[in-house]
């Protein structure tokens, strides 16, 4: 057993996993506030990446200006989506809410591609592709940057949830009837969670766009993001980060063992298996609340 190779797989897996967390944090934010499983997060991520591209490449703005500007635009978009599409479905059965987010996902993807075209474009963040060696271990720089962004966002949200607005959001997540009766605007809180998730989508879109190019494949992150969110517990941001690392390691190390056996492409299989096993064994995930409805 080659321990250096194994640890290299594990470390790179953990870094990739943190990038999944970046995606999953958006899902968790919305689920926490409104119990809506946001299957449109993949579409939002794609829109975020394309807006950054439109501002930086098409309009010629520098990246340090384009990304915050895109975040502001997406903040507005997230707010708008909640206001127009989701608020009227509040209290409906979960199947309709699920279908609504799926419809939004298809709509966002179709519209984005209709406007900007489907050819893959590069983000050109300016992170060098020089390999970085920590001892004997090879690490990709962009993954390191992305993992840093994920940790940074996690810390930022931890601090945010201690602020006045953050406490309101936590109250809404806990019990929205009670929040209503003490004068917290639940609608605005839920809208805010969508807006924040859209901002997270910009971060995920930029990092993933740099790694695999900006195209339709960005929305395929949904299954991995969902798996991370469910494994961590759908309403725990800490869970999303920890589960991201776990899934990344399992996926990277596991696919190295399984690929020779099944002839490649076992990553999807591992992710799907983790999702199924999590739901079967521990539906509330590692850090989630225990009130998941069981049969």
């Amino acid at each position: 057993m080659d321990w250096i190779f194994l640890s290299e797989l594990a470390i790179n897996g953990a870094l990739t996993g943190l990038l999944y967390s970046l995606f999953a944090i958006g899902l968790v934010l919305i689920y926490k506030a409104s119990s809506v499983p946001n299957l449109a997060q993949g579409g939002l991520t794609m829109v975020g990446a394309y807006v950054v591209l439109a501002l930086s490449h098409d309009a010629g703005l520098p990246l340090w200006l384009a990304i915050p500007l895109a975040a502001v635009i997406m903040f507005g978009l997230g707010f708008g989506i909640e206001r127009v599409a989701l608020r009227r479905l509040a209290g409906r059965p979960v199947v309709m809410i699920l279908m609504m987010t799926l419809g939004l996902d298809i709509f966002l993807r179709g519209t984005t591609l209709a406007i900007w075209g489907g050819t893959s474009r590069s983000m050109e963040l300016g992170v060098s592709y020089e390999p970085l060696f920590l001892g004997d271990i090879f690490v990709s720089r962009i993954h390191l940057v992305g993992a840093g962004v994920a940790i940074g966002l996690f810390v930022a949200f931890m601090l945010f949830f201690r602020s006045r607005t953050g406490i309101k959001l936590r109250a809404i997540a806990d019990d929205y009837m009670a929040s209503w009766s003490v004068g917290i605007s639940v609608e605005r809180g839920v809208g805010l969670s969508w807006a924040l998730a859209s901002v997270v989508a910009v971060a995920a879109g930029v990092i993933w766009g740099e790694i695999q190019g900006v195209d339709q494949a960005l929305s395929l992150l949904l299954l991995k993001g969902l798996t991370v969110a469910v494994l961590g517990g759908l309403d725990s941001i800490l869970g999303a980060v920890v589960a991201g690392i776990i899934l990344g390691i399992i996926e990277n190390v596991g696919s190295d063992f399984l690929d020779p056996l099944v002839g490649g492409g076992s990553r999807e299989l591992i992710v799907a298996a983790v999702l199924i096993l999590t739901v079967m064994i521990r539906p509330h995930g590692l850090f989630g609340r225990h009130d998941i409805e069981r049969v």
Partner: protein, 357 residues
């Protein structure tokens, strides 16, 4: 003359449990059936083959999903995978030399077996978590299909369907394909229409509404959930097999990808959960309208002299398809079936509707 409830009195239970309680509904259904029967003589074969035939087969498939999602209340995001099982087993059986009648049944039964595996997830969790599990199962099934050449048919991952032959007749004409699809769709529709009159249908509805309340009534919810999944998977399997045998002629894994699962669920929900006429309308909307809108865009841009990018045109149907789902859910979350029901109920008592107020 307009008041279609006039003279309708249900004096005994048999008359009260008819499929069509109002003669006007029955007449409409008979009219639609006759139109479907006469369609090959009324419509040009292009319309028959590229619109009517997929519409009918997808309707049969959507009715199957409606059985499990609309009646039994179990979310299912892996329906295309179940259709794939039926399609591949039927075609492999037919290529092996089994007569098509039995090949279709083999496809349906194989789907039932695999589809019942999905039911074991439903025994453990429900709602969102069931949706996620079935979604993951769909990915597993996709993976198996694309990674096993023995099933998907060699390196090109496509499997030629042998000539369809039923009751000793080779079916090769457009009209023949259409009648096969029509017959299957009518069969499924009759099954679904009768479902709500039987104990099985009522048990499924009881499970949907509240599973422990159903248990108190003596309905074994585990048993009925598995039954619902198995029955709906049988319909899915035969529909998938017919889809390949009469429409695609070539089975490929992309025809049963996760996007297709989402599409069938969209058909069912846009049509209305638990509504049969809704499934017909929902399939028509999701299947036919995006292409129609695209045609309008292409024609409109040409006549206005505008140049629309080819790529833009290629993605407009997707955007329209997503927008349709969103708009219908905003207008009427219970779907087109409910919209139809509202109009029907209004016309049913017109012009005496003010009497009820």
């Amino acid at each position: 003359m307009f008041y279609r409830l006039s003279g309708v009195h249900h004096a005994n239970y048999v008359s009260d449990s008819r499929i069509f309680k109002v003669p006007a509904d029955r007449n409409l259904a008979i009219f639609v059936f006759l139109f479907g029967l006469a369609a090959p003589f009324l419509l040009p074969s292009l319309y028959l083959n590229s619109y009517m035939l997929p519409w009918l087969i997808w309707t049969a498939a959507a009715l199957g999903l409606n059985l499990v999602t609309g009646w039994a209340g179990q979310l299912h995001l892996g329906y295309a995978a179940v259709m794939a099982v039926g399609a591949y087993s039927a075609i492999h059986a037919a290529r092996f030399g089994v007569p098509w009648e039995f090949a279709l049944i083999i496809g349906g039964l194989a789907s039932s077996v695999i589809g019942s595996l999905f039911a074991f997830a439903a025994l453990r969790v429900k709602g969102l978590y069931l949706a996620l599990t079935t979604l993951a199962m769909q990915f597993v099934m996709d993976w198996v299909l694309t990674h096993s050449p023995a099933i998907s048919g060699g390196s090109h991952a496509s499997l030629q369907s042998p000539t369809l032959a039923l009751l000793g007749q080779d079916i090769t004409s457009d009209t023949g394909y259409y009648y096969v699809a029509f017959g299957w769709c009518v069969l499924v529709t009759i099954f679904m229409l009768n479902l709500k009159r039987t104990g099985l249908g009522r048990a499924l509805v009881a499970v949907r509404e509240k599973d422990f309340a159903a248990a108190i009534l003596g309905v074994n919810s585990f048993y009925y959930k598995i039954l619902a999944f198995a029955a709906s998977s049988f319909i899915a399997g035969v529909s998938g097999a017919l889809l390949v045998a009469t429409f695609f002629f070539l089975a490929a894994p992309e025809q049963f990808s996760v996007a297709v699962s989402i599409q069938v669920l969209a058909m069912v929900i846009v049509g209305g959960l638990g509504s049969i006429i809704g499934s017909y309308l929902g399939v028509a909307l999701i299947l036919l309208v995006p292409g129609l809108v695209n045609g309008i865009f292409a024609g409109g841009s040409q006549s206005l002299g505008m140049q629309i990018n080819v790529e833009t045109l290629a993605h407009i149907p997707n955007a329209v398809y997503g927008a349709l789902i969103v708009i219908i859910l905003l207008i009427e979350p219970l779907g087109l079936g409910k919209l139809y029901g509202n109009i029907r109920d209004y016309l049913m008592v017109w012009p005496f509707d003010q009497l009820r107020k």
